[in-house]
C-alpha cells in the first residue's frame, strides 16, 4: 500500500512541477510583450503621412518634439462605438507624429475612480486621463496631477467649445481639461402613444404636469418611471425643482454657504415638499428606492407600458434606440422640465438646464521628476486632445451615434427630433448646472445621495435633509 501511495504522490509532484514550469515559461513572453506594446498600426500609417502632410499643418500650435516620446492615456471607452472613435483619434495622431507613441488603456467605468487613485498614489498616473469634471477634477489639480493649460488655451488653436463646456473645464479660474465626450441634457422622456390615447398635452408648467400625472393615475399608469436605488436619478427631480423655483441662485448660495446660503432655503424646501407630495400621490413606482437604473429597471417600466414619463439624461436616446429603434421612433417623445409659473411671475429665470457640457474632459499630467512642467510632453498632449480628439472625423463619428460634441455649431443639422429638442434647449439655457453628484465635493456627494433615498422614502423631511447637506458642505469647505 505504501508503495502505491508513494507512486501516486510522486506522480502528483511531477505533474505539479511540470505545470509550474509550463506556467513560468508561458508567462515570460507575456512579460516581454508588454515592452513591445506599441500599437501596431503606427508603423505603416506613419510612412504614408510624411508625404501627405499632417492634419495640423497651417494651424497655430506648439511645435512638437522630434525625439521619441511615450504618452500614456486612460479613457473609459471599453465599448463600441466610442472605443473605435477614441482609438482612431490616437492613431491619426501617431501617424502624423511617428516619434510619439501613445499607449492607450480603456478602463472600466465602474472602478475607474479607484483605478485613478491607485495609479496616482503609486506614481503611475497616466499622462492623459479622462474624468467628469466637478469636485474630483479640483482634487486632482490640488494634488498635482493636472497641468494648468489656461495660457496654452489662450495662445494656441483649439475647437470653439461652447461656453458652458469651458466653464466646466475650469476650476479656480484655471483651465484644466479639454472636453471630448459631448453634451448631455436632462429632460423628460414620455410615451407619445399613451399621451395620445389619453388625450394628454405636453405640460408647460408644474401645475399642468400635475394634471397630467393625475390623469395617468386615473388610468392606472405610473406617471414617472424612476429607479432611485441609484440615487442620482431621484436627484434630477430635486435639482430641477430647485432650479425652477430659484433660477439656481439658491443652489449657488448653498454651495458656498455664504450670505445665508443653505440647503434649507425656500427652493430646497419647495423641491423636497413637492417630491414628497408626488410620492404620496403615487406619481412614482412603488418601492422606488429598490429599483436601480444600473440594471435598466426604469427603462423596463417604460417599455412594458406601466409608466409614461421618465426624467433622465439624454444618453437615453441612444440607449433606447439601441434596444429597439422602431419602438423608440413610434413611442418616445421628449419635453423640458416644466416651469414654475409662480416663480416665473416673480421674475425668476426658467431657462436653467441640468446636465453636463463636457461629458468628460481630458486632463494632462505632464511633470518631470523634479515637479516642473514637462512642456514638450504637454505640448504633444494638447495637440492630441484638441486636434485629433475633437477633429472632424472624431466629431462626425460622435454625432452619428447621437452624441453632440461640446463645440459651437454642432447644434445644427440634428436629425433625431428628440435629440434636436434636447440640444436646442441646452443651447437656449442661460446656465447649465452640472449634476450635483459630480459638482459637489466628493464627501458631500455621498450625503446628498443618501438624502435623496430618504427624501423619496419619506424617511426624512426636506428640512432634515437640508440640514444634513449643510453640515456636510460646511465640513467640506472647512477642510479646504
Amino acid at each position: 500500500m505504501n508503495k502505491k501511495v508513494l507512486a501516486s504522490i510522486l506522480a502528483t509532484v511531477l505533474t505539479v512541477t511540470t505545470l509550474a514550469g509550463c506556467g513560468s515559461s508561458s508567462s515570460a513572453p507575456a512579460a516581454g510583450g508588454s515592452d513591445a506594446n506599441a500599437p501596431a498600426a503606427s508603423g505603416d500609417a506613419a510612412q504614408a503621412s510624411d508625404s501627405a502632410g499632417k492634419q495640423t499643418d497651417g494651424k497655430n500650435l506648439p511645435t512638437l518634439t522630434t525625439e521619441p516620446m511615450e504618452i500614456t492615456l486612460w479613457d473609459i471607452s471599453t465599448e463600441d462605438p466610442g472605443k473605435t472613435n477614441v482609438e482612431g483619434a490616437v492613431q491619426r495622431f501617431m501617424a502624423d507624429y511617428p516619434n510619439i507613441t501613445v499607449k492607450q488603456t480603456h478602463q472600466q467605468n465602474d472602478t475607474y475612480k479607484q483605478q485613478l487613485v491607485v495609479a496616482m498614489s503609486s506614481g503611475q498616473c497616466p499622462n492623459i486621463y479622462c474624468h467628469w469634471g466637478g469636485g474630483p477634477m479640483a482634487e486632482y489639480y490640488k494634488s498635482g496631477f493636472a497641468n494648468d493649460i489656461t495660457d496654452m488655451y489662450a495662445k494656441y488653436d483649439h475647437p470653439e467649445f461652447v461656453d458652458a463646456a469651458v466653464a466646466q473645464s475650469t476650476y479656480d479660474g484655471k483651465m484644466l481639461a479639454i472636453p471630448f465626450s459631448g453634451l448631455t441634457g436632462c429632460d423628460i422622456f414620455y410615451n407619445k402613444t399613451i399621451f395620445k390615447d389619453l388625450g394628454l398635452e405636453v405640460p408647460k408648467t408644474l401645475d399642468e404636469l400635475e394634471a397630467v400625472c393625475e390623469k395617468l393615475k386615473e388610468n392606472n399608469i405610473i406617471p414617472f418611471s424612476l429607479a432611485n436605488a441609484s440615487k442620482w436619478t431621484g436627484s434630477m427631480y430635486y435639482m430641477y425643482l430647485v432650479a425652477r423655483h430659484s433660477g439656481n441662485a439658491e443652489f449657488d448660495a448653498a454651495y458656498t454657504q455664504e450670505n445665508g446660503g443653505s440647503f434649507t432655503s425656500p427652493a430646497f424646501i419647495f423641491a423636497g415638499e413637492k417630491i414628497q407630495d408626488w410620492v404620496k400621490k403615487g406619481y412614482f413606482p412603488d418601492g422606488v428606492n429598490s429599483l436601480t437604473a444600473d440594471d435598466n429597471q426604469d427603462r423596463a417600466l417604460l417599455y412594458d407600458g406601466s409608466a409614461a414619463m421618465m426624467l433622465h439624461g439624454s444618453w437615453q436616446v441612444s440607449g433606447i434606440k439601441q434596444d429597439n429603434e422602431e419602438w423608440y421612433n413610434e413611442n418616445i417623445g421628449v419635453f423640458r422640465f416644466p416651469e414654475d409659473s409662480e416663480a416665473k411671475a416673480k421674475g425668476v429665470p426658467q431657462d436653467v438646464e441640468i446636465g453636463t457640457a463636457i461629458g468628460m474632459g481630458l486632463t494632462f499630467n505632464c511633470f518631470k521628476e523634479d515637479g516642473s512642467v514637462d512642456q514638450d510632453m504637454l505640448d504633444a498632449c494638447y495637440v492630441l486632445a484638441t486636434q485629433y480628439f475633437n477633429d472632424d472625423t472624431y466629431n462626425e463619428a460622435q454625432f452619428s451615434t447621437g452624441t453632440i460634441p461640446s463645440i459651437k455649431g454642432f447644434n445644427e443639422n440634428i436629425e433625431d427630433p428628440n435629440n434636436k429638442y434636447i440640444i436646442d434647449e441646452f443651447f437656449k439655457a442661460s446656465n447649465v448646472q452640472l449634476w450635483y453628484d459630480q459638482y459637489l465635493p466628493a464627501s458631500v456627494t455621498e450625503v446628498h445621495k443618501d438624502c435623496m433615498t430618504e427624501l423619496f422614502g419619506l424617511e426624512k423631511t426636506p428640512e432634515q435633509i437640508g440640514q444634513e447637506q449643510d453640515e456636510a458642505m460646511k465640513k467640506a469647505l472647512a477642510e479646504k
Binding site: E139, S290, T453
Partner: protein, 303 residues
C-alpha cells in the same frame, strides 16, 4: 544519568520538530508577509495621516483619525450591520449546509444530481447574482411581489430592497443563498473524512442513522464545524462583493457594511487617511471577534 539522557533526547526531538516546522511553514509565511502583513502595516501607518490618497504631501495627525473613528456613528452603524449579517449568516448557512450535506451523505451516489445543482449558486458570479435578485425582488413584476399579488388576490408590493431594515435581511438571505452551497461541500468533505469503519461499527451496534449522526458524526466533525463557523464569521464581517453590486450600501446606508464604507471613503471620497483608519479598525474588530469566538468554543485538541 538516565534522566539526563531523556532530557537531551526530548530536546533533540523538539529541535528536529522545530526545524521541520520551520521548513514547512516558510513558504506560506513569506508570501503572507509580503502580500498581506506589509499592506496591513502600511494601512496602520496611513491611518495616522490626513491624506486624500493621491497627493504627494500627507499631513501627520497622530491619533486624530482614530479619535474620529470612535465617535463616528456611521462606522458603528455599519459595524452593527456587520454583526447582524454575521449572526444570521452563521445561523443560516452552517445549519443549512450541514442539513444538505447530511442528506447527501445518507443518500450516497444516487443523489449526485442534487449535489451538483445545489452547488450552482456558489459558482455564479456576484454580478449575476446581484442582477437577478434585484429583478426577482423588484417591486414591479418581481417574483416576490407577483407571488404576493397572487396570494392576496389584488395588486401587492413587497418592497424588500428599498426600505430599511428589510433591505439588510434581504441581503442576508441572498448571501445565505450564495454561500450555503460552499458549507454543504465543506461538510460533505468532513463526512468523507470520517472512517467508514466507524459508521459500520455503529450500525452493527444497532444505531439508527439519526443516532449515528447525532452521537458520532457531529462530535467527530467538531473541529470542522468550528472552522466553518469561523470562516462564516470572518467572511460576513468583511463582506463586500455582492452588497456592492446589489445596494452599494443603500437605501440610505441601511446595508452599509464596514467594507463598503471603507471603500467609499478611500476610493471615492478622497479620504484615504480616514478610510485606512476604518480598514485598520475593521481588522482589529474582526480579529478580536474571531479570537474570542475561538476561545469560547475551544474544541479539545491533541497533537
Amino acid at each position: 544519568m538516565k534522566k539526563d539522557n531523556n532530557v537531551s533526547l526530548a530536546r533533540a526531538k523538539a529541535r528536529s520538530t522545530a526545524r521541520a516546522a520551520t521548513v514547512f511553514l516558510i513558504p506560506a509565511l513569506l508570501l503572507i508577509a509580503i502580500f498581506i502583513v506589509y499592506p496591513v502595516i502600511d494601512t496602520f501607518v496611513i491611518s495616522e495621516y490626513k491624506w486624500n490618497g493621491i497627493s504627494a504631501d500627507r499631513i501627520f495627525i497622530g491619533m486624530d483619525n482614530w479619535r474620529a473613528l470612535i465617535h463616528d456613528a456611521m462606522f458603528w452603524e455599519s459595524f452593527k450591520h456587520n454583526l447582524i449579517v454575521m449572526v444570521f449568516s452563521i445561523l443560516l448557512q452552517i445549519p443549512l449546509g450541514m442539513l444538505l450535506a447530511t442528506f447527501l451523505d445518507a443518500g450516497g451516489k444516487k443523489f449526485n444530481i442534487f449535489k451538483i445543482i445545489w452547488f450552482l449558486p456558489y459558482l455564479m458570479s456576484s454580478v449575476a447574482i446581484a442582477f437577478l435578485f434585484v429583478y426577482a425582488l423588484a417591486t414591479n413584476g418581481g417574483i416576490v411581489s407577483s407571488l404576493a399579488t397572487i396570494i392576496q388576490g389584488k395588486r401587492a408590493t413587497v418592497d424588500l430592497l428599498g426600505t430599511s431594515p428589510q433591505a439588510l435581511y434581504t441581503v442576508i438571505g441572498v448571501m445565505a443563498w450564495q454561500f450555503t452551497p460552499f458549507y454543504m461541500v465543506y461538510f460533505i468533505a468532513g463526512y468523507g473524512n470520517i472512517d467508514t469503519s466507524v459508521y459500520e461499527a455503529a450500525i452493527i451496534d444497532g444505531a439508527t442513522r439519526w443516532q449515528y449522526i447525532k452521537h458520532i458524526a457531529i462530535p467527530l466533525l467538531g473541529p470542522i464545524f468550528k472552522t466553518a463557523c469561523t470562516m462564516s464569521l470572518i467572511g460576513s464581517l468583511k463582506y463586500f462583493d455582492m452588497i456592492w453590486n446589489m445596494t452599494q450600501g443603500g437605501p440610505a446606508g441601511s446595508t452599509e457594511l464596514m467594507a463598503t464604507y471603507m471603500y467609499k471613503l478611500s476610493f471615492q471620497q478622497f479620504n484615504m487617511g480616514y478610510g485606512s483608519t476604518v480598514a485598520a479598525g475593521m481588522f482589529i474588530l474582526i480579529t478580536a471577534i474571531a479570537l474570542i469566538f475561538n476561545k469560547l468554543f475551544k474544541v479539545k485538541e491533541d497533537y
